[in-house]
Symmetry: C2
Subunit: 378 residues, 2 copies
C-alpha cells in the first residue's frame, strides 16, 4: 500500500462512524473497541491528519505518571505501547483519551468535513475513537505534562468533527475556546427556542449561569447576551471570580451572585434576590451536588442545561421530582452544528470574554485540567 494515495485510487467510502476500522471486537463502535485499524490509507470519505500534538486527558496522564512514579522513559513507553496495541490513545484504566491538533494531509473526495490539505485543525472528537499511529517514538516529549509534541498520523471519519484553527487568533486561545464550544451553542439554541414560544418574547428570558467565571460559563454568558437574554445572572464561588467576569467595563453578566452552588436553598434565595428565578439555567461548574440548586433556581416551565460532567443523572431526575419542579432538563451535548464558529466569533466580538480567557491560559499550550474540568473532550 502506498500513501499519500494516487489520485482516483481511494477505496470506496467507509462507514461514516468508522465501523470499518474496528478490528476487535467486531461490530462495536470505535469508542467501545479494544483495537482499531490505523492504516494511513484513507477511504474516499476519510481524512488523514499529520498530527503535531496530543493533549492527553488529565485523568489518563495522571494515572500513567503515578503508575510509573514519574519516570519519563517508562511513561513514554507506556503511551507508545497503548497506541501500538490499540490503534488509538485510550488509557485502558481510565477509559479516557484526549484531543489532537495537526495539519490536513489528505482529504478524500467524499469527505463531508470540508477540509483541504495544509489546513491546521483541531479534532473535536475524542482520541478514544480516532485511529492513530505514532511515527517518532515520542522522543520530543519530556513526559512532564499531558502535552505531547509528536509526529503521528490520525484518521477522521465522515462523521468526525474538526475545526480549522483560525489565523487571526493565537493558537492556544483558539484551542482553549474550541475545547468548550458546545456549551455556548446549546445555550443559544435553547434561548432562541424559549423566545420562539412567545412566553418571554419581551423583554426576553432571564438566564442563570452557574460557574460564570469559567471557560464554558463565560462563553455561555456571551452567547446568552447575543441571543437576546433580558438579564444574565452569574453565580461564582468568590468575589475574585466575580470581578473576573467584569473586564474594562464590559461585564459578561448583569448580576453577580456569590454562593455555594451545592446549597440549593441558599443559592435559590440569592438568585431570587438578584432577579430570578431563571427561565434558562446553565450549569458549568464542575462540582458534584449542584443539581438541586440549579432546579430550585429555575422557574416552573423553565429549562436547565447540565454541562458539568460531575452531573448525576439520578440526582437530577429525582431532585426535580422531589421538588415537584416542572423543568426541562438537558444533557449538555458537546456537539451542535456550527459550534466552533459560534464560539470563535464570540471570543472575537466580546473583548471582556477574550481577556478572561487569556488570563486563564496557562504557560503550556492549553490546560488539560480545564479540559477535564469543564466538560471538554475526555
Amino acid at each position: 500500500m502506498t500513501w499519500p494515495s494516487p489520485p482516483g485510487r481511494l477505496p470506496a467510502a467507509g462507514s461514516p462512524l468508522g465501523l470499518h476500522r474496528v478490528i476487535d471486537p467486531p461490530g462495536v463502535l470505535p469508542q467501545a473497541a479494544w483495537r482499531l485499524d490505523p492504516d494511513p490509507q484513507i477511504a474516499s470519505d476519510e481524512v488523514r491528519v499529520r498530527v503535531d500534538r496530543l493533549n492527553l486527558d488529565a485523568a489518563s496522564y495522571r494515572q500513567i505518571r503515578e503508575t510509573y512514579a514519574g519516570d519519563p522513559d517508562k511513561i513514554r513507553a507506556a503511551v507508545l505501547e497503548i497506541i501500538a496495541t490499540r490503534g488509538k490513545m485510550q488509557n485502558p484504566v481510565t477509559g479516557s483519551g484526549g484531543m489532537l491538533t495537526g495539519t490536513v494531509e489528505e482529504a478524500g473526495p467524499d469527505s463531508p468535513l470540508g477540509l483541504r490539505p495544509g489546513q491546521r485543525i483541531a479534532a473535536l472528537v475524542s482520541l478514544t475513537l480516532t485511529p492513530l499511529t505514532i511515527t517518532d517514538s515520542l522522543y520530543r516529549w519530556d513526559a512532564q505534562s499531558e502535552q505531547v509534541p509528536c509526529e503521528a498520523h490520525a484518521i477522521l471519519f465522515a462523521r468526525s468533527i474538526a475545526a480549522v484553527v483560525p489565523d487571526d487568533l493565537p493558537i492556544p486561545l483558539s484551542l482553549s475556546v474550541l475545547d468548550v464550544c458546545g456549551a455556548p451553542a446549546l445555550t443559544q439554541r435553547v434561548i432562541k427556542a424559549t423566545r420562539a414560544t412567545g412566553a418571554r418574547e419581551a423583554p426576553g428570558p432571564i438566564i442563570l449561569i452557574i460557574g460564570a467565571a469559567g471557560k464554558s460559563g463565560s462563553l455561555s454568558a456571551a452567547a446568552a447576551r447575543q441571543a437576546g437574554a433580558a438579564k444574565i445572572i452569574g453565580v461564582v464561588p468568590t468575589e475574585a471570580a466575580g470581578a473576573d467576569t467584569s473586564t474594562a467595563g464590559q461585564p459578561l453578566v448583569d448580576e453577580i451572585v456569590i454562593a455555594d452552588a451545592r446549597d440549593p436553598v441558599g443559592l435559590a434565595g440569592k438568585v431570587e434576590a438578584a432577579g430570578g428565578p431563571a427561565d434558562v439555567t446553565v450549569v458549568c461548574v464542575d462540582v458534584p451536588g449542584c443539581e438541586g440548586g440549579a432546579i430550585l433556581s429555575t422557574t416552573q416551565g423553565g429549562t436547565v442545561i447540565f454541562f458539568s460532567m460531575a452531573t448525576s443523572f439520578s440526582a437530577a431526575a429525582l431532585g426535580a421530582e422531589g421538588l415537584a419542579a416542572d423543568v426541562t432538563m438537558l444533557v449538555g451535548n458537546g456537539y451542535v452544528p456550527g459550534h466552533a464558529d459560534l464560539a470563535l466569533g464570540l471570543i472575537r466580538s466580546a473583548p471582556g470574554l477574550r481577556a478572561l480567557f487569556e488570563r486563564r491560559l496557562p504557560g503550556q499550550r492549553w490546560s488539560g485540567r480545564d479540559v477535564r474540568h469543564e466538560g471538554g473532550q475526555p
Copy 2:
C-alpha cells in the same frame, strides 16, 4: 397541641418545600436533611395523611433484611428506629425511601393540592422527604416483603405531589400506573412540541420506545399514539416480550424490534430496517449501557428522553459528541403537571395496555422491583 386542629387555628403557611420541617441540619432541603419534624399539627398549606401502607424501596428493604439475616423482629425494629430517629423513612445506608398510600385526614385551607378529607391517595413524592410517624409499632408487618401495612401519619407540603386513587380501577393497578406516570406525560409533551415545530407535521413523528413491554415503556407507547405519532417502533429483548405488547388485536406499537439495546450498531441497524431512525426515542429499559444505541437510532435533530435510572450522564454526553449526533437529550423528569390523570386515562382507554399491566401485577399489591427498575419513586 391538639389534632385534628380546631377550625381557624392552623399555623400560618409554611415553606412550600417543607423547609420549616427541617430540624437537622438547618437550611437544607427535606430530602437532604438528617432529621425532619413529623409533628401531626399541620400548617395552613399542609395536608396530613392517615397512612395505611408504605412501599419501601427495594434496595433499602434488601439492605435491611440482609443486615439482620431476615429476622422479622430485628427488621421491624430497624425500620421503626430509622423513622423515629429521622422523622422520615430514609435508609441511611442506601439513601432511598419508597412511597406511601393512605387517606386524607386534614387538608389546610391554603394547600394547593386540592385534596379533601376522606380521599384515598398515593403520595407521588418520595418517603425520603416526607415527615412520618408510625403509631402501631408495625405489628401487622411480617417483614417478609417491602410492603408495610401500618398505622401512621405523614405530612404533605404545598409543593408535594399526590394522586387520588380512582374508584373505577383496582387499587393495585392504579398504584402500578401512578408509579411510572411521568414517562407518558413527558413523552406526550415532547411529541407535541416536535409536531408544533412543523418538521413532522404530516404524517407525524416516528417514535422509538426502548423497553416497550415494560410499564413505563408501554404507557409511553400509548401516550405516543394519542399524541399523533406516525409510527411507533418498540424494542424488546425477546419474542415473548414482543408478543406481550400485542393483546387481542390491539398492538401498542407498529413494529417490534427484538434486539440487545446495549449494542448500538446492531440496534440502530434493526431500527432502520423497521422504519427508523426515530424523531423521538424514549429509553425505558433499566440496563446500563443503552445510551449509544438510543443516540444512534435517533435522527439528526431528534430527541432522546432517558427515563431509565441506569442512564449514565457522561455516557450520554460523550456518546453523542463521539457520534457527532445533534440530538436533544432529556433527563426524564418524573414530574409533569397532570401526569397522574393522563396515565390513568390511558390505562382506561387502551385495553391492550391494561391487559399488559394486569399481567405484570404480582401477587402482592405492587412490585417494589418494578418500582426500582423503571424509574419510579426510590
